[in-house]
Amino acid sequence: METLIFLIPIAFGVAALALVAFIWTVKNKQYEDPKGDASRILLEDDDKPL
């Protein structure tokens, strides 16, 4: 039972991380133009170094 003290917070942390990440993608307008975003990766001259 002692492992619960570690496992539950870890599980909670992972779930919370996923949730926060998803909310960030929504707020970052990543779902506004799914078709365009899928195509942009194919544009050659958009290929700037990171």
Binding site: M1, Y31, L43
Partner: protein, 725 residues
């Protein structure tokens, strides 16, 4: 009418530039025809190359393009021209309409939904061991309470956050003295949370924490789908509205021409109208000769001669010559505005329609509240104490919570409109499908609906290939609808560059010293018996060639009418065209009842009459003259080539050549309605079984969770059946 569409006079983009707070300028355009990655790259790159442009971004999913810059001397017409030069259509958006490009409401709902979903999974992870341990008796009360506390710590804040849409809507309605579906939902959520917290504090065995977030999760899926659908229709309607934004070229005192928004044109101002332009406001011609296409206004297909003192109505198309016109009525009281007012009046009378989902909610809310109250009172009377009574009443609220009901309608409408969209039919509002399913009487316009709405050559076999090819070269240089018909038939090819349009007569050219003319019989030098719409072609001294035209029926008109009659529909034709043309078309299509020469007001009156007789009417029309009738009808469908006002007045728009889309839409709407009703029956049946269980106090958290998810899944799967034929 697609003869008119390509030459639409683009609005001057200057009037549509939006100035931002930081001195930046933005122009929003609706780009047509951009479908692939190459289009995206070409357009963005092309516009970025214009000096001064800082931002150029195309949304490929919605077709909207935004350009941004700071230089106030930059001419926005360059941007539009650039996109048009690249081969795409670009229409400036009215800035006040397009303000809300980014859909914040959908984003919020999506976030609420995710929070509910994620916390549902996490709470279930904590609660499930408690259930299992309950069966096998392996968990002490201490551990159990610890798990309950953990569940409470997640479910209560998450539930409070994800419940905001329900609480706020319920509160708004309660303040006004109504009770909508959100009232029992909010009540169930708050009661469940309070009781579960109380149970945790008092070391009870069961809590319903997971039910709170699960309920919210399923309901939010329904809300999100519903919102997306409405948003899609709203955007479609906005785009149609934006297309109507046209400008007029007003000649000012010093002789210069200024582009002005139609609403700013004043009475008495002189307006220049180039060949191919739409007439912006009503007016009288003071200079120039031309021909006009009035088909969108009167339904007449023949081009009509325009000379000095001709009265022109806003919305008609100038075909062959340049005209100067004096505005007689400004935009507010033009013919177009009268039509718009009729449309508005028709739409207001339509809004009394009660949606199926609202009807279900009206029935549902009192029944659920009554059942919960009876349970509470019943258990008190039975003498089992306050705690048992309130627990069981709460269980009734949870188990009846309309997850399935909330999904029943939106899920079906999303699938149905998705299926129609694939077939080229755009559904502008969800309840249009419901209304369409009930219709029993169809009124068709003739021009552009039963027929193609454009002249087609009917004596092809009398004309040699050689003559057709030669005539087509000349025809491509003209805007006249008959010339366009020849050019269309001959397909793409060269045109004669220095051809001269002679307004009112035809088009002529000199090729290697030989005069070629195409146009009226007398002008070309031929004898005409004038029985049909015709055009003559003559090269030098050779014999004149006759091209006869008629507005032929669509390929599938006859078959569609037969199918519609089989459904038991009453069908009639209501047209503004001349008696002969209407009679011929109606007979050919197999329709017995027809009216010719009907004005827009006659058409609207006829629809009123039919509605008063209790007929459930569907109006299919394309002209401006149909717009009031479209708005009056219970449901209306316009072809994609229709006048903009008609498209925005109608509930659905079908693209493509097939009238069968009308039949297809009716069939899909009927299937959708039966799916919705099945879903309602299933929800009722589900409640019939689960409510007694809850009333008698047998509902435990696992039962509630299972029942709620199963009913939602079944309803969604039933909606998906619509995809199959």
């Amino acid at each position: 009418m697609d003869i008119a569409a390509p030459e639409r006079s683009a609005a001057d983009p200057k009037a549509f530039v939006r100035k931002g707070d930081k001195g930046e300028y933005n122009l929003e355009l609706l780009v047509k025809g951009a479908k692939c990655v190459n289009c995206l790259g070409k357009i963005e790159r092309g516009v970025s190359e214009i000096p001064g442009i800082e931002e150029a971004r195309l949304n490929l999913s919605t077709g909207r393009f935004i350009a941004g810059w700071h230089d106030k001397n930059l001419d926005p017409a360059k941007i539009v021209q650039k996109i048009i030069d690249l081969g795409y259509g670009a229409i400036p958006f009215q800035s006040d309409i397009a303000q809300s490009v980014s859909d914040t409401e959908a984003k919020k709902l999506l976030i609420y939904m995710t929070v509910a979903g994620a916390s549902m999974m996490f709470v279930m992870m904590l609660v499930e061991p408690v259930w299992l341990a309950g069966i096998f008796g392996e968990m002490g009360p201490g551990t159990r309470t610890f798990f309950h506390w953990l569940a409470a710590m997640i479910a209560i804040p998450a539930g409070a956050y994800a419940g905001i849409p329900f609480f706020s809507s319920a509160w708004k309605n309660l303040k006004k003295g109504h009770a909508n579906m959100d009232v029992p939902i909010s009540l169930a959520l708050i009661l469940t949370a309070a009781l579960s917290l109380w149970a945790t504090i008092n070391f009870r065995e069961h809590t319903f924490f997971e039910a709170i977030v699960m309920l919210e999760f399923f309901l939010l899926i329904g809300r999100y789908l519903d919102h997306k659908l409405r948003q899609k229709s709203r955007i479609a309607a906005q785009e149609l509205l934006a297309l109507q934004a046209v400008t007029a070229n007003v000649i000012q005192g010093n002789g210069t021409i200024k582009s002005v928004k139609v609403s700013d044109v004043k009475e008495g101002e002189i307006i220049e109208i180039l060949p191919g332009d739409r007439i912006p406001v009503d007016g009288v011609v003071i200079q120039g000769v031309s021909q006009g296409d009035f088909s969108l206004i009167t339904g007449e297909t023949q081009a009509i001669d325009i000379g000095i003192d001709s009265h022109l109505r806003a919305g008609s198309l100038n075909l062959t010559g340049k005209l100067l016109m004096k505005a007689t009525k400004v935009a507010d009281d033009s013919f177009l505005a009268q039509i718009a007012r009729l449309v508005e009046a028709g739409e207001q009378s339509k809004s009394v329609y009660v949606r199926l989902a609202d009807k279900a909610a009206q029935l549902y809310v009192p029944v659920v509240h009554g059942a919960a109250l009876l349970t509470f009172v019943g258990w008190l009377i039975a003498g089992r104490g306050f705690e048992t009574a309130i627990w069981n009443a709460c269980a009734v609220l949870i188990i009846t919570c309309p997850c399935a009901l909330g999904l029943a309608v939106p899920a079906v409408q999303v699938v149905a409109s998705g299926r129609l969209f694939k077939n080229g039919v755009l559904v502008k509002s969800g309840d249009a499908l419901e209304r369409l399913a009930s219709i029993d009487y169809i009124v068709f316009d003739k021009t552009g609906v039963l027929t193609r709405g454009q002249p087609n050559l009917i004596n092809r076999n009398e004309i040699s290939d050689e003559n057709l090819v030669a005539a087509a070269m000349l025809a491509r240089a003209s805007r006249h609808p008959l010339a366009r018909a020849i050019a269309r038939l001959a397909g793409p090819g060269p045109s004669i560059k220095d051809a001269q349009e002679v307004p009112g007569y035809g088009v002529e050219a000199d090729v290697d010293g030989v005069k070629i003319r195409m146009g009226r019989a007398e002008w070309v030098g031929a004898q005409s018996d004038n029985s049909e719409t015709e055009m003559w072609y003559r090269k030098g001294d050779e014999a004149a060639v006759r091209f006869a035209f008629s507005d032929t029926l669509r390929d599938d008109t006859v078959a569609t009418i037969v199918k519609l009659k089989k459904l038991g529909m009453g069908i009639e034709v209501l047209s503004g065209d001349k008696l002969g043309a209407v009679e011929a078309a109606a007979k050919a299509a197999g329709i017995e009842k027809f009216t010719a020469g009907a004005s827009p007001f006659d058409k609207a009156a006829r629809l009123d009459e039919l509605n008063a007789q209790g007929r459930k009417t569907l109006m299919v029309g394309d002209g401006l003259n149909d717009a009031p009738a479209l708005a009056k009808a219970l449901v209306s469908i316009a072809p994609g080539a229709a006048a903009d006002a008609s498209q925005s007045a109608s509930d659905m728009v079908f693209s493509g050549e097939n009238l069968n889309s009308v039949y297809e839409s009716i069939m899909v709407s009927r299937m959708a309605k039966s799916r919705v009703l099945e879903n309602f029956w299933f929800s009722a049946f589900y409640n019939l079984i689960t409510v007694p269980i809850a009333i008698f106090g047998f509902v435990t958290p696992p039962i509630a969770a299972f029942a709620m998810s199963m009913s939602s899944v079944i309803v969604s799967l039933n909606a998906l059946r619509l995809y199959k034929k």
